[in-house]
């Protein structure tokens, strides 16, 4: 069997399906995307070569920078709000044991098994200033006006709340699995040495979770950058372009405005940013590993 796997033809055959999939489904679209980003293609008719005109326009496009800023904000929201809470909840869940552990784990994960469309409309209704739950709660506390959380000025924060809430279950579950994989002997030894709960968390749980944290944080950044469905259904980038994210703006330009070439320029920049973010995260965690 070992010799069989050493056979170059077999190796080639085993690699080929994956390689073909990569070439056809990933590399070819990226190459085409780069090509079309250098044209004024509208999606129909001829594509005229325009050089770097789309990229020049992109640099001056305020909405693009706004979309990028929103994506960065979301990534920060994930890293600074969602993930610390997810780690704490996962750790607490692990300590709970018994039936409560399973029940709460299911409850926290529940939003992730609900369709994105349902989630978007659920929050859309909660936020609605005419009949929404939020408005009614505010009225209970004596608020007399109409509060449109998805309106200008507050929309981006309202969207961030939904996205952070919706993605919480996944993050928590991955951290929870990471914690479960930590050898109980370590905890027992710490207990024998008289370690407090917080000491156990900061000196044992967190350091041993580093690989999981690295994976989860990288995933969170990529997820923030490619955020599309929930925002599209919740606000469609509005009001104005206040809640525009990279992916929704790309879609709007390519499909709504028929600026296919311009949309591809956004997608190329989008790919570069995603790659840079991934490399940066790998480097950041690798350096820390060396430091340890």
């Amino acid at each position: 069997m070992h010799k069989l796997y050493s056979n170059k033809l077999v190796i080639f055959s085993l690699v080929l399906p994956g390689l073909l999939t990569f070439l056809i489904a990933i590399l070819a679209p990226i190459v085409l995307s780069v090509y079309y980003s250098l044209t004024d293609y509208s999606g129909l008719g001829a594509a005229n070569f325009t050089g770097l005109a789309n990229y020049a326009a992109l640099v001056q496009d305020e909405v693009f920078w706004r979309a990028l800023l929103n994506s960065v904000l979301l990534a920060l929201g994930f890293i600074c709000i969602q993930h610390p809470i997810a780690v704490l909840v996962a750790w607490k869940l692990d300590r709970l044991q018994g039936k409560a552990e399973g029940l709460l784990r299911c409850i926290y994960f529940l939003p992730n098994v609900i369709s994105v469309a349902v989630i978007a409309y659920l929050w859309k209704f909660i936020y609605n200033p005419n009949f929404g739950l939020l408005q009614k709660v505010l009225e209970l506390f004596g608020y007399e006006g109409s509060f449109n959380a998805l309106g200008s000025g507050t929309a981006i924060w309202a969207v961030l709340v939904v996205l952070v809430w919706h993605g919480f279950g996944w993050g928590m579950l991955i951290y929870y699995t990471g914690i479960k994989n930590i050898d109980q002997v370590v905890y027992e030894a710490a207990a024998l040495d008289g370690a407090t709960s917080s000491q156990t968390f900061f000196r044992i749980t967190l350091p041993m979770m580093k690989p999981v944290i690295k994976y989860n944080v990288t995933l969170a950044i990529i997820s923030a950058l490619k955020q599309m469905e929930t925002v599209y259904l919740l606000t469609n980038g509005g009001p104005g372009n206040e809640t525009q994210f990279m992916a929704t703006y790309l879609y709007k330009q390519a499909s709504g405005s028929y600026k296919y070439g311009y949309g591809n320029a956004i997608s190329v920049v989008f790919i570069v940013i995603c790659l840079a973010a991934t490399v940066l995260m790998n480097k950041l965690f690798a350096e820390r590993k060396e430091a340890v």
Binding site: S13, L16, N130, P239, S255
Partner: protein, 450 residues
């Protein structure tokens, strides 16, 4: 890949001849070949699956069997316009047993995206929905996506004057309009009566009515602001009451020359921006179509601004309809109406003649025009007077009276008069100025700078 297989087949005898491999080596080589072969076969099978499926489809139909693929934006096939469309298709298939009609339906935005994908891929379905406006059709026609139709075929179809203008390019028609869409206000008659207000005939009266409802804690007008185009229609209707018969020419001139210096622009945009919070429900800029309709149907707003295609709504109160009150109060003007959706035949269709035959069948006056009116769904772009039954609903009568009493119609709105890339600019800018996100000056600066 074939080369790899041939190479292995050639090596095996050689390996045996030079005594380097015995039976075990041969078996291993054979096993390697089997592994390679099965993997390659499965890969190739995956790649060639579609063509095999296509061949099967073609073979199963028989010699004179025809399958017409229809791409529709009417997703609900059990009520409204979707039901009318499906009913006509079913009747056509019953009359022509050799014809099978396959419908693929998507909602508007998804439809437009996939339409472009089909056009780019050159595999457009045979009969497709279109929008009879430059923002949709200009590039589609220029790219040669649609089959030209013979205008003489429709001489007796009763299409109303000007209704084919939107699908005509260089004297050649490329599709047929489906409806005449009148834009206006559906209103809750019970609510109007309970609050002692009459149907407004001027802009100032509309503001007074809105104030009455605001004071009563009721949203005056339910508006779909998230989709933005209804807001552009609202402005278009306002301009129609001022410019009258010159409305369309004014719009075209402004859009084509980026010239918005006609005072009507500033007057209407300023007034609408100033009064939007009085007229529309809170959060109108983030309210979608379904929610805005539901606000009205559930009695949470007194009026609903939308097109006549909603005439089949049946809430548990009596609904009336009126068009945009006179903005400048001179008693003249036209109503907001245009021919929006329609149908065309794909140029690349393999069953072009059959698709045109189906299209012609759909628009024989006793079909679309008759069925859509009798079922209270919408008004066709054809003369429907012969199909008036006398049993029309009050809402239908309100709409038909609005159209009959009008001195003219506005035609397409400004957001649909440029090319496709232009469309989002006026829609975004209109939504932003009406929701107070940008100033009126910024609105015009946006449109002028493109």
């Amino acid at each position: 890949m074939a080369k790899a297989v041939q190479l292995d087949t050639g090596k095996a005898p050689g390996a045996g001849a030079n005594q380097k491999g015995g039976t075990t080596t041969k078996l291993k080589n054979l096993f390697s070949l089997l592994v390679c072969g099965s993997l390659l076969a499965s890969t190739l099978a995956g790649c060639s699956g579609s063509s095999t499926a296509q061949n099967n489809t073609a073979a199963s139909g028989g010699d004179d069997a025809v399958t017409i693929k229809v791409f529709s934006n009417l997703t609900d096939r059990t009520s409204g316009q979707g039901l009318i469309e499906q009913t006509i298709f079913d009747a056509y298939m019953a009359e022509n047993p050799n014809v099978t009609i396959e419908v693929e339906a998507l909602d508007d935005e998804s439809y437009k995206t996939k339409f472009k994908a089909y056009a780019t891929g050159g595999n457009m379905p045979d009969l497709v929905n279109i929008w009879c406006s430059p923002s949709f059709l200009d590039e589609v026609v220029a790219a040669g996506t649609l089959e030209p139709l013979n205008a003489d075929d429709y001489a007796d179809y009763g299409f109303t004057e000007g209704s084919l203008d939107g699908v005509t390019y260089d004297g050649q028609i490329y599709g047929l309009p489906r409806n005449t869409d009148v834009l206006g206000f559906y209103y809750n008659k019970d609510m109007f009566e309970a609050n002692g207000v009459e149907v407004p005939t001027t802009w100032d009266e509309l503001l007074e009515v809105a104030q009455v409802f605001q004071d009563a804690g009721i949203s005056p007008i339910s508006m779909d602001g998230q989709d933005k185009w209804p807001l552009a229609h609202f402005i278009n209707c306002m301009i129609g009451t001022v410019k009258g018969a010159d409305t369309y020419a004014t719009m075209v001139n402004s859009v084509q020359n980026s010239d918005y210096s006609d005072p009507v622009w500033n007057d209407t945009i300023s007034a609408a921006a100033e009064q939007a919070s009085l007229l529309f429900q809170p959060g109108f800029e983030t309210t979608d179509y379904a929610t805005s309709l539901n606000l009205f149907v559930n009695g949470q707003s007194a009026m609903f601004f939308m097109g006549s295609w909603e005439m089949s709504m049946a809430p548990d109160f009596e609904v009336g309809y009126f068009t945009m009150p006179d903005f400048d109060g001179d008693g003249e003007g036209v109503i907001g109406a245009y021919n929006g959706g329609g149908y065309a035949v794909s140029f690349s269709s393999a069953v072009k003649e059959e698709a045109i035959a189906l299209l012609n069948y759909m628009f024989e006056p006793e079909n679309w025009s008759n069925l859509s009116w009798k079922n209270g769904v919408c008004m066709s772009a054809q003369d429907s007077t012969q199909y008036l039954t006398g049993n029309e609903t009050a809402l239908q009568n309100d709409i038909i009276n609005a159209l009959n009493n009008a001195s003219g119609i506005t035609g397409m709105t400004y957001n649909d008069l440029g090319d496709s890339a232009y469309k989002t600019l006026p829609e975004d800018s209109t939504a932003e100025v009406l929701s107070g996100m940008i100033s009126v000056d910024d609105f015009f600066a946006n449109l002028q700078n493109g």
